[in-house]
C-alpha cells in the first residue's frame, strides 16, 4: 500500500519537472519542485544549494520555509556540517536530532528544525549541489523517504544542469572569446595558439598570451589557475592583465612573476596558479624566462630534435607569501620553435606525465611546418577524444626563413622601428655581415624609417616597407620605402638623422615620386668592430 502511494507521489514529481522544463525559468522551477517535495514527503522545509564553480562552497539557491537561507546568502564549506557532508560524500545524510548533530548553518537551528534529510544533486556522478528537507517535529526518515528524496534530487539535478548549461553557454562563449588574445603581428614571425575548455565546461582557468614589448621583443606567457569554470576564468583574466602590465613596465620575467604572485594573493588568498613567462626574440638572441611551477616549454632549434627547456623546480603563484622567481636565460637560434602548453594537454589519467610529454615531443618533431597546421595536428594526437575534466591550452612561436631578398611591410608607427631592426639584424647576420656592419646598417635603416613615419603620413595609417638585398658590389642595399607625400621635415633631429645615415653607410640615395619616397642605404660588408 505504502509503496503504491510512493509510486504515485513519484509520478507527481516527474510530471512537475517534465512540464516545468518546457517553460519555467530556473528559479520558478526550483520553487515548484520544493513545494512538491514538501507535499510528497510531508515535511516543513526544503532547500536547494548549488556548488560554486570551484566546488568548495555550497550556496543556497531556493528554499521553502527556510527563505532566510537564500536571502542571507549563507556560504557553506563542502565537508562542513550537514549539507557540506552530503556534498562531500555524494551520499544521503539523515539527522534525527539537530540539537545533537554537527550543524554548520545557524539558520537550521534558529528555525527550530528537529530532523533533517539531505540528498546530493548528481550529474554524471559529479555532485553539483544538495537538496534537503526538514521537520519541526522529530522524524526518523526511513529508506523509502531517502529513495524518494534522491529521486527528486536526480530530477532537480537534471533540470538545473540543462538550464545552467544553456544560460551559461552564451556567457561562457562571450567571456572566453574576450579573454583569448589577439596575437601580435611581427615581421617574419609566426604565432599560433589554441584554447580547449574542459569537456564539462565552456571556460576555465588556462590561458596563453603573446604581446609585443617596447623594445621589439615578444612576451609569451601561459598559465593555469587552479579551479574550474567561471570563477577560475575570472581570476585568469585578472592575472593575464596583471602579467602584461608588469611586463610592459620593463620588469624581468622573475620580477613579473613575483609581482603576479602578490596580485593573486590579493585577489583571492589561498588560490594558486602556475605560469611561465618568456621574453624572446624569435629572430635569435637570448631567451629570458621564469617559471612558477609550470611545466617546461619545448624548444626546437632548426634541424634539431625538440627538447624541454631546463627549469629548476619553483612554487606556483600564490602558494607562499614572498616567493622568489629566478630569471633564467639561454641562447635561442633564429627560427627556433617554442611550444608552451598547460598540463591539460599532456596529462592523461593513469599515466605518468612523461608519456604525454614524449607524445607531444614526437608530434612536434614530426609535425607540419605551418604553425596553424601543427596546432591542429597536436590537438588531433594529444586530445583525440577531446578534453576531459581539465582544460588545455598551448601556444607556439617561430621565426620564418628570410630568404636572399627580404621584404616586409610594417605599420608606419614608432613601435615598428625596434621590430624592423631585429629582423634586419638577423638578415644581415645570415648575409655574412660583421657585428659592426649590423650595428651601423640597422641604425641607418631605423633613421630612414623614422623619417618616413614622421613625414610621409598624416594621421591616417600607412605602411613602411623594408627591402634588404645583396648588391653587385658584394655589399648590401637596404631600402626603406613609404607610400605617402612628404611634408618638410621639422626639427633638427631629422637633419641629424640624415647625417647619421650618411656617416654609417657608404652611400645614401633618396628617390621621391608621386607614389612615395625610397631611401636606399648601401654598404660593403666585412667591416670589423673598432677596438
Amino acid at each position: 500500500m505504502k509503496s503504491r502511494i510512493a509510486a504515485d507521489r513519484l509520478r507527481d514529481l516527474q510530471s512537475i519537472t517534465d512540464a516545468a522544463l518546457a517553460y519555467l525559468p530556473l528559479e520558478g522551477l526550483l520553487n515548484e519542485l520544493l513545494n512538491r517535495v514538501i507535499a510528497i514527503l510531508g515535511v516543513d522545509t526544503s532547500a536547494i544549494l548549488l556548488l560554486e564553480d570551484d566546488d568548495t562552497t555550497l550556496i543556497p539557491r531556493a528554499a521553502k520555509g527556510l527563505e532566510e537561507e537564500v536571502e542571507r546568502r549563507v556560504r557553506i564549506p563542502v565537508g562542513r556540517g550537514f549539507a557540506g557532508r552530503v556534498a562531500a560524500t555524494g551520499r544521503p545524510v539523515r539527522i534525527l536530532n539537530v540539537a545533537e548533530a554537527d550543524i554548520y548553518n545557524p539558520i537550521l537551528r534558529e528555525k527550530g528544525l528537529e530532523s533533517l534529510l539531505g540528498a546530493p544533486l548528481l550529474v554524471e556522478g559529479h555532485v553539483i549541489g544538495v537538496l534537503h528537507v526538514g521537520t519541526l517535529t522529530r522524524r526518523n526518515f526511513d529508506d523509502e523517504d531517502v529513495e524518494l528524496l534522491q529521486r527528486a534530487a536526480d530530477r532537480a539535478a537534471l533540470a538545473i544542469s540543462s538550464r545552467l548549461t544553456e544560460r551559461e553557454r552564451g556567457l561562457a562563449d562571450a567571456l572566453q572569446s574576450s579573454l583569448l588574445p589577439r596575437l601580435p603581428e611581427l615581421p617574419a614571425v609566426s604565432l599560433a595558439g589554441r584554447y580547449l575548455p574542459a569537456a564539462s565546461e565552456r571556460i576555465g582557468g588556462d590561458w596563453y598570451d603573446a604581446f609585443l614589448l617596447p623594445d621589439g621583443r615578444l612576451g609569451l606567457a601561459i598559465g593555469d589557475v587552479v579551479g574550474r569554470g567561471f570563477h577560475a576564468a575570472a581570476i585568469m583574466g585578472q592575472l593575464r592583465s596583471g602579467l602584461r602590465a608588469y611586463a610592459l613596465d620593463g620588469n624581468s620575467p622573475g620580477q613579473v612573476l613575483e609581482r603576479l604572485s602578490r596580485l593573486l594573493r590579493d585577489i583571492e588568498a589561498g588560490r594558486t596558479a602556475t605560469v611561465i613567462y618568456l621574453v624572446a626574440d624569435p629572430h635569435g638572441g637570448v631567451l629570458h624566462y621564469a617559471s612558477a611551477g609550470h611545466p617546461p616549454p619545448l624548444v626546437q632549434a632548426p634541424g634539431e630534435e625538440p627538447r624541454l627547456l631546463e627549469i629548476p623546480g619553483s612554487v606556483p603563484l600564490g602558494a607562499t607569501r614572498h616567493p622568489r622567481y629566478e630569471d633564467h636565460e639561454e641562447e635561442l637560434d633564429p627560427g627556433a620553435l617554442l611550444v608552451l602548453y598547460t598540463d591539460g594537454l599532456v596529462e592523461r589519467p593513469g599515466e605518468p606525465l612523461e608519456v604525454g610529454l614524449d607524445l607531444l615531443t614526437e608530434t612536434v618533431a614530426a609535425g607540419a611546418d605551418q604553425l596553424e597546421h601543427l596546432c591542429d595536428g597536436v590537438v588531433d594526437v594529444m586530445l583525440p577524444e577531446g578534453t576531459g575534466v581539465d582544460d588545455a591550452a598551448f601556444l607556439m612561436a617561430r621565426a620564418l626563413p628570410l630568404g636572399d631578398v627580404f621584404v616586409a611591410q610594417l605599420p608606419a608607427e614608432i613601435e615598428s622601428i625596434p621590430l624592423m631592426r631585429r629582423v634586419l639584424a638577423r638578415w644581415l647576420d645570415e648575409a655574412g655581415a660583421t657585428q659592426r656592419d649590423i650595428d651601423d646598417l640597422t641604425l641607418a635603416a631605423a633613421e630612414a624609417a623614422a623619417n618616413a613615419i614622421e613625414h610621409a603620413y598624416g594621421l591616417a595609417p600607412g605602411v613602411v616597407e623594408l627591402r634588404a638585398a645583396r648588391d653587385e658590389a658584394g655589399g648590401v642595399t637596404v631600402a626603406i620605402r613609404d607610400f605617402g607625400h612628404w611634408r618638410q621635415p621639422r626639427g633638427t633631429h631629422r637633419g641629424r638623422g640624415l647625417l647619421l645615415m650618411e656617416g654609417l653607410t657608404d652611400d645614401v640615395e633618396v628617390f621621391r615620386s608621386d607614389e612615395g619616397t625610397t631611401v636606399e642605404l648601401s654598404r660593403r660588408l666585412g667591416v670589423e668592430a673598432a677596438a
Binding site: 617596447p214 656617416g503 677596438a531
Partner: protein
C-alpha cells in the same frame, strides 16, 4: 641587442649623475627626457650623463643630449657625457660632433672633476 633604456640617478658632490643603460632611442626618448631634466637640481654645478652601458643611440636620443646641453647652458650649468672609446654609441656621437657642445670624458670620476673645474 639589449632591452629598452633605463635611467638611474645618483649625486656626487653637487653633480647629478644619470646612468643610461640599454637603447636610448625614439621609443624610450619621451620617458628619458623627463628623467634627465628632472635630475637637475637648482643647487647643482651640472649634470653627468653616463653612456658607458648604453648599447644604442639614435638621432632622437642624440637630440635629447643636445637639448639637455642647451637647457643647462641657459642656466649657467654644464653637461658632461661619459663615453668609452669605440662602439656604436661613440661612433654615432662622433658623427654628430656632440663634443662641440659638451665635455666628453672616459669615466664618471673624470666627468665630475671636470664639472668641478678641476
Amino acid at each position: 641587442m639589449t632591452s629598452r633604456a633605463q635611467a638611474s640617478v645618483d649625486y656626487h658632490d653637487a653633480v647629478g649623475v644619470v646612468k643610461l643603460t640599454g637603447e636610448v632611442d625614439i621609443v624610450a626618448a619621451h620617458d628619458l627626457r623627463d628623467r634627465l631634466l628632472g635630475a637637475v637640481r637648482n643647487e647643482d654645478l651640472g649634470l653627468v650623463v653616463d653612456l658607458t652601458d648604453a648599447s644604442y643611440i639614435d638621432s632622437v636620443g642624440v637630440s635629447l643630449l643636445f637639448e639637455l646641453a642647451e637647457k643647462l647652458t641657459e642656466r649657467q650649468l654644464r653637461l658632461a657625457v661619459v663615453l668609452p672609446d669605440g662602439g656604436l654609441v661613440a661612433r654615432v656621437l662622433g658623427i654628430v660632433n656632440l663634443g662641440s657642445v659638451v665635455e666628453v670624458e672616459p669615466s664618471v670620476d673624470e666627468a665630475v672633476a671636470t664639472l668641478h673645474g678641476a
